[in-house]
């Protein structure tokens, strides 16, 4: 090895954990719905809140949730973050905005990204809609929703989002 090489100042020390994740009953039903282009939530029988993706129980009331509710693929941004720092595991071009979207009819926001929108225009209360992959590519994965894009509807006032932020 040549002596002109620079001294070593850092080393790669990757960590890797390999799991097999089971989605369970409620989230599997949700994912099968996604594969058909539908977004299914579940309503708590006690507090009536609608959860999406559903986990089969209400974390507030600690009761099982069974009633299925089909939700719109339109929603409202409740909060967002602009990602500017690269990471080996992110394949979306930087910078991009990750967002929480409260789907119409839901009481819990979902995590996604926003595109087709200048970053400086993104704001709480902004109305967005899911952009799906082509029908023949739909599958039981959240990757079936490519991203959310802005739609021409008036903003939802921040006060109405208070409970979900």
């Amino acid at each position: 090895m040549s002596d002109e090489q620079k001294p070593v100042t850092n080393i790669k020390t990757p960590m890797r954990l390999e799991y097999r994740y089971s989605a369970g009953i409620a989230t599997s039903r949700f994912l099968h719905g996604i594969a058909q282009g539908k977004i299914l939530g579940q309503r708590c029988p006690s507090c009536k809140k609608v959860y999406v993706p559903p986990r089969g129980s209400c974390p507030r009331c600690a009761v099982a949730t069974e009633e299925e509710v089909e939700l719109s693929d339109k929603g409202t941004i409740t909060t967002y973050a602009v990602v500017r720092v690269p990471s080996e595991n992110i394949d979306v071009p930087l910078p991009f905005a990750s967002v929480h979207v409260l789907l119409d009819g839901a009481d819990l926001p979902m995590f996604s990204v926003v595109q087709e929108c200048p970053l400086e225009k993104i704001r709480m209360g902004m109305r967005v809609q899911a952009v799906w992959v082509p029908k023949e590519q739909l599958g039981p994965t959240l990757q079936s929703i490519r991203y959310f894009k802005p739609i021409d509807e008036p903003d939802v006032p921040a006060d109405q989002l208070r409970e979900t932020v």
């Binding site: 090895m1 002596d3 090489q5 001294p7 070593v8 100042t9 850092n10 080393i11 790669k12 020390t13 990757p14 960590m15 890797r16 954990l17 390999e18 799991y19 097999r20 994740y21 089971s22 989605a23 369970g24 009953i25 989230t27 599997s28 039903r29 994912l31 099968h32 594969a35 990471s87 080996e88 595991n89 599958g139 039981p140 994965t141």
Partner: protein
């Protein structure tokens, strides 16, 4: 859809990999160790009491005092001070077949360092056995520049 997703009675399961691609700063003392490894050499550092620590450390773990700037070439051979046999190695371990994790005290060192020993068979492993490094041809300045240690008697 990925064929690795499976559906049993409507319940979906899929592989989930959690990976942190860390890069760690090593500082001047371990930095020297890795730089020398890249050149195919093993070095330790001398403590104020005169002991040689391998891998070198910035502080003497016995006294807490800073170590000296005296780097000492050690090895390449050494002895196994303790070991544990791995029957079925996992994907990212140094060897694909059974091997031993061992503490190796290199010639001229006062401390032992952890590495893999490729003994082929557990029957060949014993405390006190002499081993030497098997170097990689392409070295980058990482502990894996030594593929593993192997019994000196092998050749």
């Amino acid at each position: 859809m990925s064929e690795t997703v499976s559906d049993e009675g409507g319940i979906l399961t899929a592989p989930h990999v959690l990976e942190y691609p860390y890069r760690r700063s090593v500082g001047p003392v371990l930095g020297r160790f890795f730089t020398e490894l890249r050149a195919g050499k093993l070095v330790g550092v001398r403590t104020q009491q005169g002991r040689v620590l391998v891998p070198p450390q910035e502080y003497d773990p016995e006294t807490g005092a800073a170590t000296t700037s005296d780097f000492v070439e050690v090895g390449p051979g050494g002895i196994v001070t303790t070991w544990s046999w791995v029957t079925k190695p996992r994907a990212k371990q140094p060897l694909a077949h059974s091997f031993a994790w061992a503490l190796v005290k290199l010639d001229g060192a006062d401390t032992a360092m952890l590495h893999a020993v490729d003994a082929g068979d557990i029957a060949r492993m014993r405390t006190g056995m002499r081993v030497r490094p098997r170097w990689r041809a392409e070295r980058v300045g990482h502990i894996h520049d030594i593929e593993c240690f192997e019994p000196e008697a092998a050749r």
